[in-house]
Symmetry: C2
Subunit: 283 residues, 2 copies
């Protein structure tokens, strides 16, 4: 067995294995250990406390999904908050939308931002864009008392253990909701439906307490546990976009041209989830 | 690093890692080596020449998808051919459809059937059903000269290497097409869009030469490379089912009740594939 194999083994007893060519970086912050290695399969790979976070080759699956579904459902998203997302992929996708005036990105760990700027240039490429404020801060404190500011809030967090834990609770979701403008949409990453079904069940039970309209949408994510991921569509006044013909065709086509995944038909298709995912999300 | 870790590492340099509790079975046939082990994450796991084939816990993803999409698109599927599929999961799902009169299952390797009967009882449970003929034979020979016999043909094969290789070529697809009745549908497994994109591209180039209507549909498959899999919808006279409201509601609901994935909305949603999958399949 090669010593140059990276594994993520979840508490459930499985995960991804990747042949590692070279260790590139390792740095400890007060929050977590950030490592970067290079692999033939995925290019550069970043892990936090040994857990898979981002790879150069498959990051588009996650970033296109967390961004374009809420953004193209909103009629005119101008002011955006990204919680977490220090690698910069979410910001890069957001800036494809010409309506965006300003993005606040609140990332607790500067080491993640620095590692991404150095080793993931295709991901972090828009972090210095003048429309973006990068705030190195705990989002739990940042969001307190914010009111009526954002059109879209994306919670691009780690798992609900370690620094990400406080981003999965009712008080936090209520604060996020207060920070939304009328017609606003919140999209959190909501874990893997197959590999982390209990995390997902708990998360949706909380989201349903806080928001009127809540639905999961799902897609592939090769390097995450189970290869299958979910995000939440949460809003008090925007309906779940289950009919793609209501999505602005011109805006959707302009975005789709730049994407490996996103297209207008897929916009509603991702809400047609398997029976077991409905059951997890609807309680 | 534990010696009790199973890995599938694809030629691309990654794959799944599973903590293995116990080796249960290993048997060599003229075609391949069949191994079975037990794992906490997936229950019993069967591999062929070390490649992941079936696990007790995630087999439903694959078997529901290969079966119910073509079966519920056909108005009255009675006579079915399964090529490969020796574990029995495809046959089990087919027999949920009351219209089925007879299934021929043509599996080259009896060892796979025997291992499944012993270690995958929830998968192989319908292999002795009187509606099923289990034929231990090379499907390439079996299909020669068959004409106007089947409503549905499912190609539940291994990868296009080893014994599965001859199931991915134009002559074979032409023979399968000749074996179809009018209104017939062929659904082959067509590999992983992310992990085996070149296999997929070649397969669709061949399918498009043989069938008039060809479209990929995709879904998660946690233990297969990339966690993301594809199947083909191929027919000369049945349209791609991109509108689920045309699927018989009563039949779909009866099947959905028995399924962890399948539901009527999902029937058309699985054809809304990512841009990079369209590009692979349309050439």
């Amino acid at each position: 067995m090669s010593e140059k194999l990276y594994h993520e083994i979840t508490p459930e007893g499985f995960g991804i294995a990747i042949e590692k060519d070279e260790d590139l970086y390792s740095e400890k912050s007060p929050y977590q250990v950030t490592d970067v290695f290079h692999s033939r399969a995925f290019g550069n790979v970043l892990t936090l406390d040994g857990l898979m976070m981002v790879t150069e080759r498959d990051e588009f699956f996650y970033h296109e999904m967390i961004v374009h579904i809420p953004m193209l459902t909103h009629s005119n998203p101008e002011n955006i908050l990204v919680i977490g997302g220090g690698d910069g992929g979410t910001v890069r996708e957001l800036l494809k939308h010409p309506s965006v005036k300003h993005i606040d990105m609140v990332e607790i760990d500067n080491i993640v931002i620095e590692a991404s700027k150095k080793f993931f240039k295709s991901v972090s490429c828009e972090l210095d864009n003048p429309k973006v404020s990068v705030l190195v801060q705990d989002a739990i404190e940042f969001i307190e008392g914010k009111e009526n500011i954002y059109d879209i809030v994306l919670i691009d967090s780690t798992d609900p253990i370690g620094p990400g834990e406080g981003l999965f609770n009712e008080k936090f979701y209520n604060n996020v909701k207060r920070a939304l403008k009328k017609g606003g949409i919140v999209t959190p990453q909501t874990e893997g439906p197959f590999a982390q079904s209990e995390n997902m069940r708990k998360t949706y039970a909380l989201l349903r307490k806080v928001f009127k309209n809540v639905a999961p949408y799902c897609g592939p994510m090769p390097t995450y546990p189970g290869g299958y991921w979910s995000w939440g569509f949460c809003s008090d006044d925007v309906e779940i976009p289950t009919d793609y013909t209501k999505i602005d065709e011109k805006r959707a086509q302009e975005i789709a041209k730049t994407c490996k995944i996103y297209n207008r038909e897929l916009h509603s298709a991702v809400f047609a989830v398997p029976n077991f995912v409905k059951e997890l999300a609807n309680g």
